[in-house]
Amino acid sequence: MGILGFYLRKLYTILKTEVLVLPSRIVALLFFLVLLLLPVVTQDPYLLRILILANIFAILAASWDLLSGFTGQMNFGHALFFGVGAYTAALLNLHAHLPPWGSIPVGALAAVLAGLIVGIPCLRLRGTYLALTTLAFPIILMGIVFTLPNITGGELGVSGLDRLSRSRLSDYYVSVVCMLGLCAIMWKITDSNTGIIFHAIREDEVAARVSGINTTRYKLLAFCLSGFFAGISGGLYAHFMRIAGPSTLEVSMSFTVVIWAVFGGIVTIYGPVGAVFILFPLLEFLRFWPEYRTLMFAILILVILLYMPDGLLPWLRDKIEKECPRCKIRNVATRKTCRTCTAALD
């Protein structure tokens, strides 16, 4: 009992001194709570469907950020990992009758393998070369999918998979827990020692190597990690839609991931997640004018980029918070002095 009380008091202290002092942290907390408690308020299947898909794509966008934002390895073929995850999970489920909780992790492992296959030739490339080369991989795989229609179903894809779980509501909770859990893991990774090395590789690879870091190994690690998370999201998608088709490998899929991530702000993890939760429901909302939907989407992105080239969420965050010039701790923009070192904020 005493130990429980101790942890409760510790939780309360953390909540009061670390979370409730910053608007961005309050928003993150609210985001968690709203997602977890939403079914109490409404169980509209259409709304749940949108949110499940948003959850799945949020994992995908965040995994792109982990690779391309943090290590600076611009990946334009992220659909490869998604597609490999989806197809592997689908084929295993259909032929080996593996239930979703088995086929999705195996699909993710296949995507890790895909990450290695892409990563090794790409180690020698950087910048634009890398971006343009990675674009090629999903297209190559798509060609193979089309030429082997009796295994992959060709244009129609692999259909008739098991459902993710028994009801729409439990599907929702599976996807929410996966999304929150995996994104928290990704955020933790980027905050750890490894994450700092990823930053160093992006900023100056030569300097990182001079400091004794095996950049090759870390770049491959980034490819594998990103492939793993993207593979999970691909498997979830296949089991939720109950079909894995060539649309998971399309160029537009890769582009969409990049749009989400850059729109939300790269090198943040929370940026891409937030962007998916803003853009995906927005796109659904625009369905009232189906012909103009994609056009408005494109124009919105162009206009937002003109004013906030670093992405939407970092821009918003800089508006409501400022950094203490002395101790680099973030404060609410309304404060006159820093909350820890009491230096005057400008």
């Binding site: 611009m74 030739p121 020698r124 490339l125 910048g127 634009t128 070369y129 971006a131 343009l132 080369t133 674009l135 090629a136 991989f137 297209i139 190559i140 795989l141 798509m142 060609g143 193979i144 089309f146 030429t147 100056d204 030569v206 160029v251 537009s252 582009f255 990049v258 749009i259 850059v262 729109f263 790269i266 012909e291 103009y292 994609t294 056009l295 989407f297 494109a298 124009i299 992105i301 162009l302 980029l305 003109l306 080239p309 670093d310």
Partner: protein, 289 residues
């Protein structure tokens, strides 16, 4: 069969060469990866369709008007959307993707998703070893080679060409030497979009128009510029023909070839990159800090 392969390889090679050189130019000079490059080609093709079919102009007049209009349109897009965010590499990437999607959607709204076609400029064909070679195909290859020669002359013999080449070499030093860097970038953008529009004009009679027609050439020209070396015009030229012929070979020789043509061309690119990471003619860029 062999002649079929040669003709088809030459046509697609020429098309990729023109597009890839424009793409390569603007990357070399302004470090802009213009994903919307082939979208301009698509818009030009639709403009020609509109000019010749709906307004009934003579094809040559329609083509000239289309090239000029699309070039102007490209410059306006550059000024409005690309120039303000040029310093943010990632933003330029998705900005141009969004631009391309916007153009595709506008074309989809105006012309619907139907497959359209434009009649060829010159009718008739000549039989070489029993294979029909249309005059239009010969005309296309000839025009492309002429334009490439003209472009080379422009780059090598004129003062403007010197400015473009030196800006591509080193932006800051070129600026210090009194070249207006942003104006050179603007002019290069004009040339680049002009080349894309021109490709649309010469290819349009040989192909079918639909709003998604920019996707496949885009992937291919990206492969071409990576294969030839980014920013290298000679590399783009050779790479385009290599991949053009590879595509033609796959389509004619392998049973399910039409599905595999992209895969094989891109695999060739990756194989070359494994041996020469900077492409066939590329210069290994100094680390840009």
């Amino acid at each position: 069969m062999i002649l079929d392969i040669i003709i088809s390889g030459l046509i697609s090679g020429s098309m990729y060469a023109l597009l890839a050189i424009g793409f390569s130019l603007i990357f070399g000079v302004a470090r802009i990866v213009n994903i919307a490059h082939t979208a301009f080609y698509m818009v030009a093709a639709y403009c020609i369709y509109y000019g010749t079919h709906r307004l009934g102009y003579h094809p040559i007049l329609g083509m000239t008007a289309a090239v000029i209009l699309v070039t102007l349109f490209g410059l306006i897009c550059y000024k409005l959307f690309i120039d303000p965010i040029r310093e943010h590499e990632a933003a330029v990437l998705i900005g141009t993707i969004a631009l391309a999607i916007a153009m595709q959607e506008i074309m989809l709204l105006v012309f619907t998703g139907d497959f359209l076609s434009v009649p060829s400029l010159v009718k008739g064909y000549v039989k070489i070893f029993g294979v029909k070679v249309f005059y239009q195909q010969l005309l296309t290859v000839g025009t492309v080679l002429f334009i490439l020669a003209a472009l080379r002359a422009l780059l090598m013999k004129t003062r403007l060409g010197l400015a473009i080449r030196s800006t591509a070499e080193d932006r800051e030093v070129a600026n210090l030497m009194g070249m207006n860097e942003s104006r050179v970038a603007m002019i290069t953008m004009g040339i680049s979009v002009g080349l894309a529009a021109f490709t649309g004009a010469v290819i349009v009679p040989l192909t079918i128009l639909h709003p998604h027609m920019w996707m496949h050439p885009l992937i291919m020209i990206m492969a071409v510029v990576v294969l030839g070396g980014l920013g290298s015009i000679r590399g783009s030229f050779l790479g385009a023909y290599i991949l053009g012929f590879a595509e033609a070979l796959v389509v004619f020789l392998i049973p399910m070839g039409a599905f595999l043509k992209g895969s094989v061309a891109l695999s060739i690119m990756i194989l070359v990159l494994l041996i020469r990471p900077e492409g066939l003619f590329g210069v290994a860029f100094e680390e840009e800090r």
